[in-house]
Symmetry: C2
Subunit: 226 residues, 2 copies
DNA sequence: GGCGCGGACGTACGGTGTACGTCTCACGTA
DNA sequence: TACGTGAGACGTACACCGTACGTCCGCGCC
């Protein structure tokens, strides 16, 4: 709290604020785990009583939304209009993937909470602007954005799920694959090694290529330029 | 438990079993909500003491995995080999979407838990078999499966997220859109109506068409038939 | 008849989100 | 300078959660 001294010397208690609370939550999540987050832990992190948090955040869910918003606001949206629109679209989707790489433990939060603030809408604006520049009409632009978003979300989701699964396979050994019925799962068994090894980056780019490549075949008005 | 009478009359207490526990959990989730699920609620549902559940399920997370497994095991995998592989692939992805429609509240569980039992692997086997029949090599088959899975997961995820968002928009009215900065979000504002209305089915099919259509351009050996 | 054992059960503990009331203190006004 | 006022930090309290642990009962086997 602001003591009666309002001098410019740094305060040991730098005023509690929503921003600081969200930041502490993000740090806590990244340092430990998503389900290590609790109001009590966050309060302890800030050296503050639990209920003080509720002066700035209505409830835990709102705090989680704040975390999600903070993470997506870290999207780096630099754009090079001289590049072909396909590459610019790739860059946009990859930007999402980058924050997923930077804040991996926060992703489950991001993936399961809505974001309706300006920060969350910025990438949408970019995507729509890009689709417009590429010559797609509005309805198609929205659908393209949704398809790409779905893919980006799902790819990330699948990756963390796979990570958990692999962690589990380390415990149980490869025996889980060994005692599969070969009659029922011939392809799974034959491709066990491909299924076990995963290169998230390559997998991601593979699907992204499929989608971006497919956009070429959609009807659109002649490109303005480039 | 089995009383000393082993007659065929229906028992008032039909033996507690993992199956019944999982089923009760699914019903509870669908009737109320995913986070209404607790061991105590499930126990009450079954008319049983809380700790009795732990004789059949090691912990809550295992119960959630059981729920996820149960849901995906509801996938209807009828296949018509006379159809072109593109349509068979569509049918496979749509099957996933169908269970999502039937058990909407369970989907967040499915999307966030691993499934490593035979029931969970069956769709994978189908997908790989199909890709093989279509003439793709093993590595490509795995990547195609992953891309399609990512899309299906993400599309579903986006849909429920959108549902929450729309529910929120109903509360706040359209004012959230109104007081957006027109200079920063011209396309979002221009396409507000397209963004607000959503036809999940059409959106889903749009992206699915993109992906399936793109598969045609991948290298593959000549089709065995059809 | 006795015994073992699986499974249902009760108790208890530490942790969680948060409603509510209280207290302190900077600040505007008289 | 005195006082009301309002914001915000705080403590207490409650209901609920997951689950470790010990008890107890009834069935199947020797």
């Amino acid at each position: 709290m602001a003591r009666h001294v309002t001098s410019d010397t740094p305060q040991p208690r730098p005023v509690l604020t929503r921003e600081r609370i969200v930041l502490a939550a993000v740090e806590l999540i990244e340092r430990e785990d998503a389900d290590a987050l609790s109001m009590r832990r966050v309060a302890a992190e800030l050296g503050v009583a639990v209920m003080s948090l509720y002066n700035h955040v209505p409830n835990k869910d709102a705090l989680l939304e704040g975390v999600a918003e903070h993470v997506v606001s870290g999207l780096e949206l630099h754009d090079d209009p001289s590049e072909p629109w396909q590459e610019r679209a790739r860059a946009l989707v990859r930007a999402f993937r980058k924050v997923a790489h930077d804040k991996p433990r926060c992703m489950t939060i991001v993936l399961t909470h809505k974001i309706d603030t300006a920060a969350g809408l910025r990438p949408a604006e970019r995507a729509l602007a890009l689709a417009d520049a590429a010559g797609f009409d509005g309805e198609t632009a929205v659908r393209i954005m949704r398809a790409l978003l779905a893919y980006a979300l799902g790819a990330q989701m699948r990756e963390v799920g796979m990570a958990k699964m692999l962690g589990h396979l380390v415990e149980t050994g490869a025996e889980s694959w060994a005692n599969l019925d070969p009659d029922e799962f011939p392809h799974v068994i034959a491709l066990a090694s491909e299924l076990a090894t995963h290169d998230p980056e390559a997998d991601f780019e593979f699907g992204l290529d499929l989608l971006i490549g497919a956009l070429d075949r959609l009807p659109r008005r002649p490109a303005d330029r480039g």
